[in-house]
Every structure is written in structure tokens, then in C-alpha cells.
Symmetry: C2
Subunit: 279 residues, 2 copies
Amino acid sequence: MVVTIIGTGLIGGSMAIAFREKGMAKKLIGVEADPAHRQKALEIGLVDEMMSVEEAIPLSDLVVLAIPVNDTLELLPHLLDHVHRQVVIDVGSTKHPVCEVVAHHPRRSRFVATHPMWGTEYSGPEAAVKGAFENKAVVICSKEDSDDDAVEIAESVYRLLGMHLLYMDAAAHDLHAAYVSHISHITSFALANTVLEKEREEDAIFEMASAGFESTVRLAKSNPAMWVPIFMQNRENVLDVLNEHISQLRKFKSCLEKENYQYLQELIEHANGIRRILK
Amino acid sequence: MVVTIIGTGLIGGSMAIAFREKGMAKKLIGVEADPAHRQKALEIGLVDEMMSVEEAIPLSDLVVLAIPVNDTLELLPHLLDHVHRQVVIDVGSTKHPVCEVVAHHPRRSRFVATHPMWGTEYSGPEAAVKGAFENKAVVICSKEDSDDDAVEIAESVYRLLGMHLLYMDAAAHDLHAAYVSHISHITSFALANTVLEKEREEDAIFEMASAGFESTVRLAKSNPAMWVPIFMQNRENVLDVLNEHISQLRKFKSCLEKENYQYLQELIEHANGIRRILK
């Protein structure tokens, strides 16, 4: 099939690599707003050629939207205006707003809302990697609003990438995503700012930083152009989780202030319960 | 040389593996308070035999103390009572209290306070791994309080493990450690409790949890028996950093509440500055 990838960055680029590797795409067309990314994506061979959205859609069987979630809300209705038989999937980290924005679009059923649960703290075409999605989960949202054949194509594409499929409605996805992804980014950004604010001896951090520190802070390298719109769109869920997180941190603070080490022990033992969930 | 390792868990066990691999120890003696760990450490060959502290010291050239930092404070003075020519190093995550507790000990100069900056969220003899310390930093504290030959032996041991050596006084170490290690553990414990508290659908977390989540939460599996004493001993520094961290998180909260996305963008851009420090 002919596949158009709109946004040839970390996610779109990694999908392009996987599509080519699996022999899935006869032709890969890129749509890319950033001139430097456009050139780089062609240079490293992520896509065969670059076109405008209007040129690309009529030639395509599958269109993958892999741009920041605010841009998706703007572009998707316009995209569907041009769609007939094509299948459009998005890969954004929020799902309720994108489903809302096309809820009454006459071509809504050609769209499948998806979220492959993979990413890194890097962005742009050069951040794309091989084997990115293998053995990861992908969430397919509110599939009853999509045509059966469109869902089947989305499913077969993700199975080909080696992903396991989860199904939930868009609102449930956004709630869970706040817990398993969005809050991790906020804590990491805040931790980076804590260290940058108070620890003036950057050399000491640089030299002493261990794997544990790197692990909790690496997400703080993530691109604001991607993350501000995610937090905007998932604002209420993220605020709920963030409030809870601050109150959990206050318990640790209170233990230390009051030297209540018995309770500190209990808090840590409770946290160890995450072993049930993370292998 | 003959080396005694007191505490054959994650750190002591990994050192035993490295000493053996590098051909550094003619004989490896273990001292282990936990009967199950004692048996396991012998079974997997971490040490050649197990003894009591009193038996082991006279036979040893080097004694490595790799036990929780509260136990170190109790054991080290007693240990030094038995020491003549031997060199004793500890590997704990706090350095000021251990230096204080032996400050006036007549054998203080046979002790070298060190902190190899490596660890994982696992503990016990079976958590020990090969190649653990390679290319990591080790901090050697307040070396002017140790005999030159003792410092030289500590340095040569760590160089043999492939570590690069940093020097600072014990109080400075504890401040920096609060930033590059201790706060990461608190945020991770608190994040685990946040998710376990509010997200009742553990299956959803389990299935959706991505690498980003795992990365920020994995430290929450860490052993309270090790971490409570670290937080006790580094209480003031950890409280300072924790207060700053909560106030940084409140900035994110305020941005979301007020929908001030310009400032949210700035906070994230500032956090991206961590790229200067983490490669």
C-alpha cells in the first residue's frame, strides 16, 4: 500500500522505518511542515518523497498523523474533508479531544484513534529508530466509531509492528495516560528544575550523576512543543494526578520533619507494591 | 590480598564478583548477618567462606563495609577496635555521619570513606552483577583524615574496578548526593504511591506502562531497609531538596490551573537545560 506519514519526527519517522523494514509500504510519502526536518527526513531516507497534504491523500491507502496533538486537532477535520476510501490514524498521546473534534464529521468513520505506547525524550527525524514499537502496547480508542475495514487495517499495521492491541474508550485512555505517562513527564521536568535551581555546582551533578538519577530525569529532555499541548488537552486528569502526587510527596516531607521513620518505612513498603505491576 | 566483605548484598556482592574477575583477591571472606543471604552468597560463589567480623579482620588486608548506613554507624567503631594494619572502606550513600562517628577513634586513619555511585533497585546476594562499577564515579571523602597508604589502596581498588575518582569533603558529598540520588528515590516512591493510590485499574497500568513510566518509577522497588537510614542520616539536605521539588511541582500545577501555557512552556524549556548535564 501507499502510506503517507504526516510529521516525520520521532514517532512518524520510527513508523516509516518499521513500514519499510516489514515491506508494508510500496511507497512512503512524507508531509512535513519544518523545512529542516523535511530535508533531513529525505536525506536519511525515512520517506520516498515529500508532498503537501492535498497532493498526498488521493495517492494514499493509509495516512498516519504523527504531529503535536494541538496540530492534530486543526489538521484532522481538514484531512477528512479530502478522504474517501483512505484510512487515517493518529498516534497522539491524548485521545478524547481528537475524537471530539471529528465526532460529527461525515468522514469520521475513516479515522481510527490510536496511541502506540512508545516514545523517547528525543525528537525530530534523526530521533527515529528501528524496532521502536516491538512488544509495546497500542491503544485503539472508541473503535465503534470507525468503519470495520478501517479498524482492521489499523490493527494489521500495528500487529505487523509487533505491538499488542488494547481497546478502550477515548476518555478512559486519557485518564490512564495521565498516570502511566503524563505525570512521569511532569515529575521529571520538575526534578530537573529542582536540581538546576538549587544545585549550583553543575560539575558535581555531571560527575556524580548515577543511573538512578538519569533514569528519573531523562524525560526532562522532552520537547515542549509536543508536551505543552498534551498537558493542555489532558489538563483535568493531569491536575488530579499532580495534586495526588504533591500530597504523596508531602507525606514524605512530613515524615522527615517529624522524624517519623516508622511511617517513612511504611510509605516505602507501600511504594514497593509497584513490583506487582512492573516486572 | 585477602579481602573481607561485610554485607554480601547488591553492592558487596557486585564488588566480590569484580574482585574475583580482576584477580585482585587471593581470598574473599564474607560476613553476613542474614542466614538466608549467607547461604545464598556461598551457594553462588560470591565469597570463599563466611566468618564473624572478629575472625575475619586479623586475616584480612582490606575490609569492605557494604551494609545499610545505620548498621555502619554501629559496626565501624567496633571494627576499628580490631584493626591494626588493615584498610577499611565503606561504600554507603551518606558520608558525613560515618566520618563523625569515628572522628576521634584512635584507628580513624585506617578508614577511608567512599561512595561508589552505582546501584540498582534490587537487593540481596542475587542482585549482585558483573561489571557493575565500570565507568562510574566513586567519591572518596575527607581523605586527609586517612593514612596515605590506606587512601592509595582504596584508590587502586576502585581504579581496578574501572571507576573514576572524585574527591570531596563528607558534608559536600552528602549535599550533592541529596540532589543526584536521594531525591530521585523519594520522587519515585511518591510516584508509585500516587499511581497505586488513585489508579485502581492496575491491569490498565500494567498493560499501558511505557518505558517512560518504568524509568521514573523503577527506583520505587528499592529496599526500605537501605533507604530509611539514608534519609535519616541525610535528613536536612533531603528536606531542603524535597521542599524545592514540591515548590517546582506547584509551578506546574499553577500553570495548569490558570491555563498559563506560556509559562508552562518556559518551565519545560528550563528543564531541558538538564541536557547540558546528562549526555
